[in-house]
Point group: C2
Chain length 322, copies 2
């Protein structure tokens, strides 16, 4: 089948990718649309050694489901961690941390930048109903954004700052606005902040320190995708406040540990999130993700699409995989 | 009065230090013994710009207490943060994070390496009864060790690793053993681990990776006082586990943020702790701190005492300030 192929940091379009046979419990999904995530871009840069088909955000239609034929024909989105159910992490209820997991388009499992993909039926979710394919394709990143609220017990009056005004930062900010009064998005490039006001978000430039609640934020969510974001987050968070680490990138960040100790700051890493809640938010139209969409490319133009997605300020790029 | 004086990273003994007049609510305390903490050593290295008398661990006797004369003559230990009671942090119950605080021997308040010190009477605690001066002088670091249990909701079956087998690591491990079955202390220097077994602690060398629960520890407490400790802690903690940051040092650490994100690890900075609980632990003889004591120097030999305390493997050095 047609697919994008990542090998040795090179990304190429191929017509001859052979999808493996579905393992017991797996379904074959025809991919309709797939979204480009920063993790894909970091993988091309070498963030994680992976050879195969990348891509983990998708909406598709079940083509073949040998063990659960009732799923055939349904429009689905899919959780990306395929787990063993038997290891210590799985048994302790931390299934997304399964020690033997494969991860769609990231770890030992071919991904969504292809005409077809395989996932266990248990990973699939139908829907969301009444929502465009473009919007449905946001379920995975929206779930990841909602994970912040699964991990942090916010108080309605909390002062919350999202550092990073890109795709991830906007999505996180929109989900936080569902529950909180005071959400401020901080970005480097002021020209990029204007559209956020149209989304109902309060913004400030990271260069305008006077406008930032230095040492006053109860929670700061780091969404920049670069090591400088953590340093700014550490400046903004109040003593005994929380920094949520949301972005993954290749390389290390330096951190003033003593400052974290003296201020008794908590840092929390945050990754995949609750699909049912994300589907519910989209189906109920609590968040409109269309303004976050930039452009759609055919699958064959995938390498160009990823280059476009890597441009500073790029919003969501999707691949038409049909 | 006689005191040690820190200025421009130089530490000297002085006979002519003039203690300021006590402010309203403050008491004059004659210092009996003062303990040398790694923070003192880091301050001499320039961790924090401070000119004055360092030292914040002490036991003393109240000499003069104008506003609360009933305290005169009592043997006391003292909380080190002198707070305003009125700022946002104080009003929110985070008094040790008061925005206008002075800190004994650390920030805008002369410390305990002197014949006399000043503290608000509200910072003083009597006791602990029936305990030597040497042991009473451990109340402050013991409280800081107990703070870990104030911040983390441990489960009795948790696998807990303390990284760092020095003064701080041992004290933290002994406090954790009060509540937990499985506490492992990891140190670099195997020759230094032997005495820990005599304290009832299980140990492993950081060089012996096979003996370490890599990716398996529920909680790791970082007590090394150097940036490498965090990297080891990140290797040992399990997905969704917690790293407690306990040591302060001059300079920054590098951290693989993506690993923290992917594993959804929580980091928690931890500083000063509950004095009443520390006093209770010592008075009830739940922990014997005497094995943690190395040597006592007269105040006049303070510079030599701090040099001795900076020696790798040094245990607690105390200064006789009488």
């Amino acid at each position: 089948v047609r697919a994008l192929w990542l090998e040795d940091r090179g990304l190429a379009f191929r017509e001859d990718f052979s999808l493996p046979e579905p393992a017991p419990g797996e379904a074959v999904v025809r991919v309709l649309l797939a979204g480009v995530c920063n993790t894909d871009l970091e993988m091309v840069k070498g963030y994680y050694p992976f050879t195969g088909v990348p891509g983990h955000e998708f909406v598709g239609r079940v083509e073949h489901s040998p063990t659960a034929p009732e799923w055939t024909g349904r429009r689905v989105v899919g959780e990306i961690n395929a787990v063993c159910g038997a290891c210590e992490a799985c048994r302790a209820g931390r299934r997304s941390h399964c020690e033997r997991r494969t991860v769609l388009g990231i770890r030992q499992r071919h991904g969504a930048f292809a005409e077809r993909l395989l996932l266990p039926v248990g990973n699939l979710h139908e829907g969301p109903d009444g929502v465009s394919d473009e919007a449905a394709c946001f379920v995975e990143p929206l779930a990841a954004a909602l994970q912040v609220q699964e991990q942090i017990a916010f108080q309605p009056k909390d002062r919350v700052v999202v550092v990073g005004a890109g795709k991830l930062g906007r999505l996180v900010a929109l989900t936080l606005k569902l529950a909180l009064r005071d959400v401020l998005v901080v970005g480097r490039d002021t020209s990029r902040l204007a559209p956020l006001a149209a989304l109902g978000l309060r913004t400030a430039s990271s260069g305008d320190l006077g406008a930032l609640p230095e040492g006053r934020a109860d929670v700061v969510v780091e969404c920049t995708g670069n090591p400088e974001g953590l340093a700014l987050a550490a400046r903004l968070v109040r003593p005994r406040g929380t920094i949520v680490l949301k972005s993954t990138y290749h390389g290390e960040a330096t951190v003033d540990v003593s400052r974290l100790v003296v201020n008794e700051v908590t840092l929390v890493g945050s990754r995949c999130g609750p699909f049912p809640r994300a589907i519910g938010v989209l189906a109920a139209r609590q968040i409109d993700v269309h303004p976050l969409l930039e452009r759609r490319f055919p699958l064959a133009e995938g390498p160009r699409a990823l280059a476009e997605a890597a441009r500073p300020g790029a919003l969501k790029i999707q691949l038409d995989c049909t």
